[in-house]
Structures are given as structure tokens and as C-alpha cells.
């Protein structure tokens, strides 16, 4: 009897000793372009002094309408030189924020670049074949993009996050547009 019991009890002990942790795959944070390089590439004649856009009561509702939630900060830093502005914004794809640099010129997106990607899936959104679709995109009156952006199979959440950020950058560009008297 003990010959049979020994292996069974050993198996049970092994099962108890087995580490019961979640199977969370460690998503690696990848930086594709630093903020400094993004800004240097955006403003050839020198990076302008940053400005801050405070998300006041007049701005917050539209931000919430675009994102579906509040932006997780009370102010946004941006760089502006004439009609060209640069925004470094973050939005969660599935569980982690995607840091994206967006350049808006004359109310149209001039460049969209994924700077830091932290999710385990959906990293295809970093490729130019996807990000180039945003070029020349404008914001409609309903705060939506005027062009259709083709998605990527398996990266729907990341695609949606970038669409939201592009709408947000276009909206922020509108909000921070210098009034005629300031020009």
C-alpha cells in the first residue's frame, strides 16, 4: 500500500508547492523615438518654449467626449511655432498607455509617431503604413476625423487609442489657436 501512496502524496505536495501566480506576460516597454528627437525633427529652426494648456471646464467636456473619459492630467504641455503645434499625448490601448507624438499644422495632422509602446499586442500601429494614414486629416464639426482610418487585425484597441489621440491633438490645436489680435 505505501508503495502506491508515496507517489500520490508526492504529486499532491508538488501541486501545493507549485507557484500559483497569474500568467501575466510581461509587456516590454519600447521607446521608438525620444521626446527630444521628436521635437527636434518637428521644429527645424529650434524647439520653441513649451506652453501649457489647462484643461478647464470649457475644454474638459469635449476631451471626455473624444476619449470617453477624462484626460489623466490637469494640463497638457505643447510646443507651438506659428501654425504648427506638437503634442505628446497618452492614451491606454488595452491596459497600458501609448505615448504618441502628433504634429498639427494649419488644422491638419502633419505627422503622427508612436514614441513609446507598452502593450504586449498591437505594436503594428507604430509602422508608417498605419500612421501615414493620419496625414492631412482634419477634425469635422462633430469632432471626428474627416478621413477613414483602416484598422489592423489584432490591434483594434491600439488603433482606436491613436484615432482618439489624433482627434484630441486636432482639438487642442484649435483651442490653442492664437486669436487674430494675438497673431
Amino acid at each position: 500500500m505505501t508503495k502506491l501512496l508515496k507517489p500520490i502524496f508526492t504529486l499532491l505536495l508538488l501541486a501545493l508547492a507549485y507557484p500559483h501566480t497569474s500568467d501575466a506576460k510581461g509587456a516590454k516597454e519600447e521607446t521608438y523615438l525620444s521626446q527630444e528627437d521628436f521635437l527636434t525633427q518637428t521644429f527645424n529652426e529650434g524647439v520653441p518654449t513649451p506652453k501649457a494648456l489647462w484643461l478647464t471646464k470649457s475644454v474638459k467636456p469635449t476631451v471626455k467626449e473624444i476619449l470617453g473619459h477624462d484626460y489623466p492630467a490637469a494640463r497638457i504641455r505643447y510646443w507651438r511655432d506659428g501654425n504648427r503645434s506638437a503634442w505628446i499625448l497618452e492614451e491606454i490601448g488595452k491596459v497600458k498607455p501609448i505615448t504618441t507624438g502628433i504634429v498639427v499644422e494649419d488644422g491638419k495632422i502633419a505627422r503622427l509617431k508612436v514614441l513609446v509602446y507598452r502593450e504586449s499586442h498591437g505594436w503594428e500601429v507604430k509602422y508608417p503604413f498605419f500612421t501615414d494614414q493620419f496625414k492631412e486629416t482634419e477634425l469635422t464639426e462633430k469632432k471626428r476625423l474627416n478621413k477613414n482610418i483602416d484598422g489592423i487585425a489584432g490591434a483594434t484597441l491600439s488603433v482606436n487609442a491613436l484615432k482618439k489621440l489624433s482627434r484630441l491633438a486636432l482639438y487642442f490645436h484649435q483651442v490653442t489657436e492664437p486669436k487674430d489680435s494675438e497673431k
Partner: protein
């Protein structure tokens, strides 16, 4: 040979005897598992009566077992009447979660807001506990951030591997200080036990219900993937025990009837 010995002989040799032997072995070896499955099964049948869904587990070892365990030490700074802490990868203002962050290197208190230097970023936190902005990369001076202070004039002073830098009032630009000012420090302090308990509770969120634990023990998932297979194996063994038990009982009753008829 006595009549009793004659009756025993066929049992010892036949396949029935071997089955009986396995019936006993398996029964003894897996008895603890059978009891655990039965007891947890009874409890699960009364989940609503016992309110197991709403009763939260308090035992630390169960959270550790589930991998819900805070990582690293609690780093705490007392700023005026408030607390800024770093706990398990998150930055907290009192007991409110601000954002995920790197390790808290220091805090400074300026008139309109607090500053928390975490990893390689600097969090601006309003006095109400709202994250104003998280400064990193090009928004900070060159070099690796070492510590954050406030000057006598209420400006933020950031020490990096490249030297000391002073921010403007809005923290939008930095200027390098050739002669460092006398910065004021806020030293880390020990968090009050109730704050630490609140942070642990915040980290755990809703926690784990007893229903989940009992269900996991019942299904074997509590012991990981191997546990599930052991419970599956035990279930098959239980079927085997039932069938052999029924077979033996039938056989015994048949023999008992034959014996009664032969008398």
C-alpha cells in the same frame, strides 16, 4: 480445509480481489481530496445563504498565493498635512491613487502644488491631490534626476547628474544654477499604520471573495494547473470507486442470497 477457508480461496485469485485491493488503495490515498471536494461543494451549494460572494478574504498568505502581493517597500513623505507615498509601483496622494510610477526619490512642496520625483519623471500634484502634469524627457533638464527641492523663493530645484536646475513658476522651463542655492529638503518618514493599511487595501482593490477561494479549491485551480488535473483524476477515481463499490455490493448480496438459500 475449513468451509471458511474454502470460501476465501476464489476471492484471492480472481480479478475481483485485485479490484478490491485497488478500491481500498485509491480510497485511502485520495480520501483527503474527496473530503475537500465534498466540503467545498456543500459550501458552494450555500453561497447565497452564507453570503460568500460578499465576504472578503483578509489572510495575507492567500493574496500572496494568488500573486496579489505588493512589490517593494512603502516610501512615504509627509507634506504639510498630506502624504505622498509610493507603493507597489503606484504614486498615492494620501490614500488616492495618482498614477503608476517609478520609485519615489523625493518630494517638494511649492505654494500652488506639490512635486514628486519618481524614477525619471516629475509629477505635479495639486493640493487637492489631482495630477496636474507628469514631466519627463524633454520637459526636464538634462541628466539623470537625483532629487527635488524647493528654493527660498518657492521655486522648484531639481538636482540631476548635470547639476542643479531651477524651474520657472509654471515648471515650463529650467535654468542651470552655477552656484547651488540652499535647497530645503523633505525627508522620507514612516507611514502611519492606518495609511499603510489603506494603501494595501487600495492596492488589493475589491480583494478576493471567499466564494472564489472555495470554488478554486473545489476545482483544483487554487493549486495551479496541476491541481486541476489532480481534481480531474480524483473525479475519475471516484467514478471507479462507485462502480467497484456497486459491483462488490451486488456480488456480496448475490452470495449472501445463495448462502441463505443453501441453508
Amino acid at each position: 480445509m475449513s468451509p471458511a477457508a474454502k470460501r476465501k480461496t476464489p476471492l484471492r485469485r480472481g480479478p475481483g480481489r485485485a479490484l478490491l485491493r485497488w478500491h481500498r488503495r485509491i480510497g485511502v490515498a485520495l480520501s483527503a481530496i474527496f473530503i475537500a471536494i465534498c466540503v467545498t461543494g456543500i459550501l458552494l451549494n450555500h453561497t447565497v445563504d452564507l453570503d460568500l460572494d460578499n465576504k472578503r478574504v483578509e489572510a495575507d498568505w492567500i493574496y500572496k498565493w494568488y500573486g496579489i502581493e505588493p512589490e517593494g517597500e512603502l516610501v512615504h513623505y509627509k507634506v504639510d498635512e498630506d502624504s505622498i507615498s509610493h507603493f507597489s509601483g503606484n504614486l498615492y496622494f494620501n490614500t488616492d491613487l495618482i498614477a503608476p510610477s517609478g520609485v519615489l526619490k523625493g518630494v517638494a512642496s511649492l505654494a500652488p502644488f506639490h512635486l514628486a520625483l519618481t524614477g525619471s519623471s516629475l509629477a505635479m500634484i495639486s493640493r487637492e491631490g489631482e495630477l496636474i502634469e507628469s514631466l519627463s524627457g524633454s520637459s526636464l533638464p538634462a541628466g539623470t534626476a537625483i532629487s527635488i527641492h524647493s528654493s527660498e523663493t518657492g521655486r522648484a530645484i531639481l538636482e540631476t547628474s548635470e547639476g542643479f536646475f531651477r524651474a520657472d513658476a509654471d515648471l515650463l522651463s529650467w535654468e542651470k544654477l552655477e552656484t547651488p542655492l540652499a535647497p530645503s529638503f523633505i525627508n522620507a518618514s514612516e507611514a502611519a499604520p492606518d495609511l499603510e493599511a489603506a494603501l494595501v487595501a487600495s492596492f488589493r482593490g475589491e480583494g478576493i471573495s471567499w466564494n472564489r477561494v472555495i470554488l478554486d479549491i473545489h476545482s483544483g485551480n487554487f493549486f495551479g494547473p496541476i491541481g486541476k488535473w489532480i481534481v480531474d483524476f480524483s473525479a475519475l477515481c471516484l467514478i471507479f470507486l462507485t462502480l467497484t463499490g456497486v459491483w462488490y455490493t451486488t456480488k456480496y448480496l448475490k452470495k449472501a442470497r445463495e448462502r441463505a438459500l443453501s441453508k
